[in-house]
Symmetry: D2
Subunit: 148 residues, 4 copies
């Protein structure tokens, strides 16, 4: 793991610590680096739709969170502008769900990230593609701006 | 309001009552009918990202919920297959956010729904387009299938 | 029709006249104004896939062209950043296909446009949602900047 | 290359030979196999927008064509249902543009494909994610159905 990857992890953990959704959703930051992240949560009762499976909004929310950690991994503050998701399989109550975001492209201030959302047995629950845009500022302010 | 619109509202309220996410998110079903729905919630602390504004995942979740009520409004059980969202403006803690879903097209078992997500002052927070697919079954089982 | 709508039409016709794709695709600019446009073409043999119906790429191309005229209608040069399309019904060789783009939202430099693509009998062939971004410059340079 | 990969290439070449768009766009099938394909074309004058760069519709059309060859590679007839594209960089007249489609997920009758569209120098022009659905029939009818 490079210094930049370590710094990317520090950024992600810092973001997670400031998010109200982090504890609400039980987000676990598992791994990551420059341009990618892997996070997970366990499906709770308050995430279920009327069929007793995970609400599509929560699959999106997990993927969108993974995107946020990946697109901010260089400490250039970035936000999601647009995202698309395809739902392939439901997740059940109590199941661990993992989202892995990977940078597909970075062009100027725009980035594209693919996120795979998988269930405990590795089956694909949803695939997600998001478009980020770099705005002003940093996630972690550093004295010597070493991160750029 | 036609009988079919009244029945669409009954279906939506029934769905909401069975969702674990309904009370968790504080979903308020405001209005609806055949092919459309309008719902809202108020942004709570556990919906906030690190900037103190609503997490994109929660904007999607509200839009996706509105889609679910609209695409099931004929009592033919339907699920979202795919959805896209563009984020335009953040919402703040305590702000009421409204999602209005409207049927754009219905072709065989596929439906397309546009959802506008707006803030208290009417500004557009996000626009969403979702693709639904009708599967087997009904939301409310009726003796005489009057709803078809 | 307001002066701004007339100017929007002039901008669209100017754009069309400069596009290599205009004559290649037989684009007909039918109507438009500030924030919207309606265009059409007739499905030709060189637009067909192996099933003898219109290639999905050409349905997208027509919708994307309608978006371009709508998002540039204020003479602030804009480009599509992202777009999503759902395919609902095929079009046949010789059929006239129409795309109508309407502005759903405009927030800062970002715009969202919904485009309905319909066949001769009015059936929905595809629905499209595109995200535009305003860049520098104008489509038509005017002495007195009356268009702003 | 496995027998299945060889058969996938045969299917793709067969599809291309039946498409009116193939010669119109100058599609070159470069490589492929089960679940993937790589194709290219050279940007011609009739593909240009008013800025003298490739029309976004043509970038989509190339990506959508690559998707078609990838999602039909098992000889189960499939069609695109929905697709999203993000535009990152323009291509110029005379430039060779390549689209590489890869299967991200396959679940029942639904498939998800990511397509990278690149320029001659390898820069990313667009990223595309498409959702396919298997319908009845095959691309190539075989005596002994060996392809299943």
């Amino acid at each position: 793991m490079t210094e930049n990857d370590k710094f990317a992890q520090r950024i992600a953990r810092h973001m997670l610590s400031e998010e109200g959704t982090g504890p609400a959703w039980g987000i676990d930051y598992e791994d990551g680096g420059v341009g990618w992240s892997q996070i997970s949560f366990t499906v709770k009762d308050d995430m279920l739709n009327g069929h007793g499976t995970i609400h599509g909004g929560m699959l999106f929310a997990l993927a969108d969170t993974a995107l946020a950690y990946a697109c901010n991994s260089r400490n250039d503050r970035s936000v999601a502008q647009q995202a698309s998701i395809a739902f392939l399989s439901p997740a059940l109550a109590g199941e661990k769900v993992t989202a892995t975001a990977r940078e597909e492209a970075l062009q100027g201030r725009s980035g594209v990230y693919n996120v795979a959302v998988t269930g405990e047995d590795g089956r694909m629950l949803a695939t997600f593609q998001g478009l980020s845009r770099t705005i002003r500022g940093h996630i972690i302010e550093t004295k010597n701006e070493q991160e750029n």
